[in-house]
């Protein structure tokens, strides 16, 4: 296994609030890794630091053997890392198609872009039906699909997903996680951040538990599911 991403002692500070107090983790190529934690644990801050959206106050981020700790976010995105932000980051007044096209502007493999676009529409038929609709008019589940489809259209090989299940009905959540599994099987590496611990642990290969800006536990997702402490704190005790 080759490490595609390695984070060392990552610290993020907002004014006086220390959101991350030096966390370290890694992701192997082709894995689904999940970080689970309660509100305010620092999950989004982790993703924001990794994708260059906020500057870490200390620590190191390596992506594909390059130090990207202080690289601007659009450059990181062009190196194959796509961050699907919390709340999905819809360009609400633009159409579904425009949302997807925008993701391809930094790519140079134009013939592959066409193929990817076709694949994405095949994979998400509901987006294909709604090509010319404003993204803001889509349902929550469809918006999450679009956000993931858009990340795929950037040509990224690594996706950071911030709470894809947020605000969605259980059935739609299942659908979204099936999509995540599928794109992982197609070769994408995934870092998934979730409050929905059970579903996340069932989907991921490995997991980290984040609490108040520090990593409490880590291990194989299947082990953590049966860990009594994790059960009590994150899986509602059963």
């Amino acid at each position: 296994m080759t490490k595609i991403m390695e984070i060392e002692n990552l610290e993020v500070v907002y004014g006086v609030i220390k959101a991350l107090q030096g966390i370290s983790f890694y992701i192997d190529e082709g894995e689904i890794v999940t970080i689970i934690g309660a509100n305010g644990a620092g999950k989004s801050s982790t993703l924001r630091a990794v994708s260059g959206m906020v500057r870490p106050s200390s620590g190191k981020i390596r992506f594909k053997d390059k130090d990207v700790t202080n690289t601007p976010s659009h450059i990181i995105a062009r190196q194959g890392l796509s961050h699907v932000p919390e709340g999905r980051g819809m360009l609400t007044k633009l159409t579904v198609e425009e949302n997807l096209i925008l993701a391809t502007y930094n790519r140079k493999d134009h013939s592959q872009v066409k193929e990817d676009m076709k694949n994405v529409y095949d994979q998400f038929p509901r987006l294909s039906e709604r090509k010319r609709q404003a993204a803001g008019n889509l349902s929550g589940g469809e918006q999450q699909m679009l956000a993931i489809a858009r990340a795929l259209m950037t040509g990224a090989d690594t996706l950071l997903l911030d709470e894809p299940s947020m605000g969605l009905a259980p059935l739609i959540v299942q659908e979204i996680f099936a999509v995540i599994k599928r794109i992982n099987q197609a070769g994408k590496t995934i870092l998934l951040v979730e409050q929905n611990a059970m579903t996340a642990l069932r989907t991921a290969n490995r997991a980290y538990i984040l609490e108040n800006g520090t990593l409490l536990k880590s291990g194989k997702a299947s082990d953590l599911i049966s860990d009594p402490e994790v059960k009590a704190a994150y899986l509602g005790g059963y």
Partner: protein, 327 residues
């Protein structure tokens, strides 16, 4: 490349016909009307330039008048001090306002929303104060340019500039990859960056481009009016009017600024003729903003659509029980 098929589209034919009509205007209307038409052209250009920044990109600037004033003063100074020909001076002021906007944009574009509005307003005010105390600009005395009395000349200059800004808006903002990127910045800057767009670069370019057009138009205005003064070209009312014209016509659209500029400028001139220089215009202006924001957030351009849906709505309400008030 323009193809023959595109050239025969109805809207293209209408566009070309209106251009021909507008080109013959100096020979069919009185010189009074021609001066009004020149003013309309100027404000169409200004409103369209503001709309690039405020409409397509969503950065509401209250300092756009500074670019207009800087362009006016640079053109004036180049003509008076260096005796440059008008068009040379105009092009140089375009370049200088572009660079000036790059510098001003660097700090202000880090702000957004109302902070950006306040930041740009403060910059504009700073420029006015600066010009007021500088000797080269004539301070509060203002600056006189070589007189040039040719109504037709200025009509065609303003017409040409308005057309230039219009075509830029059409080709670079309405129908291009760049325009889509600009709209992405407006919708959700963070998301745009996650898609690999260099939003900082995009924002700087749009700010500089729209300022450059305002600067060039300011230069043409200075030569037209031959006497400029810090209050006449750097006053806050210039930016305010651009904002209101765009909001009135329809923000983020191609024709909204055109319609807003025509309505507001004609209204202003009419009031000037009827009541002379009075503050009534400002009061009506304020009222107009309130009404448009409250009842017509998408501007006059959306009037036909709004009218259709409200008349339908009125019929529906006529035959349905009264609704409970929503809290």
């Amino acid at each position: 490349m323009l193809k023959m098929k595109q050239l025969t589209q109805p809207r293209v034919i209408i566009f070309i016909l209106s251009l021909i009509v507008l080109c013959t205007l100096p020979w069919v209307v009185s010189s009074f009307i021609l001066r009004i038409a020149t003013g309309i052209m100027m404000w169409i250009g200004l409103a369209l330039s503001w709309n690039m920044l405020g409409g397509y990109m969503g950065y509401i600037s209250f300092g756009h008048g500074a670019s207009f004033g800087v362009g006016a003063y640079i053109t004036g100074l180049l003509m008076m001090l260096l005796h440059l020909p008008f068009f040379v001076a105009l092009i140089i002021s375009g370049v200088i306002t572009y660079i000036f906007a790059m510098i001003v944009g660097y700090p202000t574009l880090r702000l957004s929303g109302s902070y950006f509005a306040i930041g740009t307003w403060a910059f504009a005010e700073m420029m006015r104060q600066l010009v007021l105390v500088l000797d080269t600009t004539g301070g509060p005395e203002g600056l006189r340019l070589p007189p040039m009395l040719n109504d037709n000349f200025f009509y065609f200059v303003m017409f040409g500039l308005a057309l230039l800004v219009f075509l830029t808006a059409y080709f670079f903002f309405e129908n291009s990859d760049f325009g889509l990127k600009v709209k992405a910045v407006r919708e959700e800057e963070v998301a745009a960056r996650t898609l690999g767009l260099n939003t900082t670069w995009i924002k700087n370019q749009v700010f500089a481009l729209s300022s450059m057009f305002a600067g060039i138009i300011g230069g043409a205005f200075a030569y037209w009016i031959t006497y400029i003064h810090p209050d006449s070209v750097l006053g806050p009312l210039i930016a305010d009017q651009m904002v209101i014209m765009v909001l009135l016509g329809g923000i983020g659209t191609l024709f909204g600024p055109v319609i807003g500029a025509i309505v507001l400028y004609v209204g202003n001139q009419y009031m000037l003729a009827a009541w002379g220089q009075s503050s009534a215009y400002l009061i009506i202006l304020g009222l107009a903003i309130c009404l448009v924001i409250l009842f017509l957030p998408e501007g006059l351009l959306s009037l036909p659509r709004v009218f259709k849906s409200t008349t339908k709505g009125a019929f529906a309400r006529l035959f349905s029980p009264p609704r409970k008030t929503r809290i």
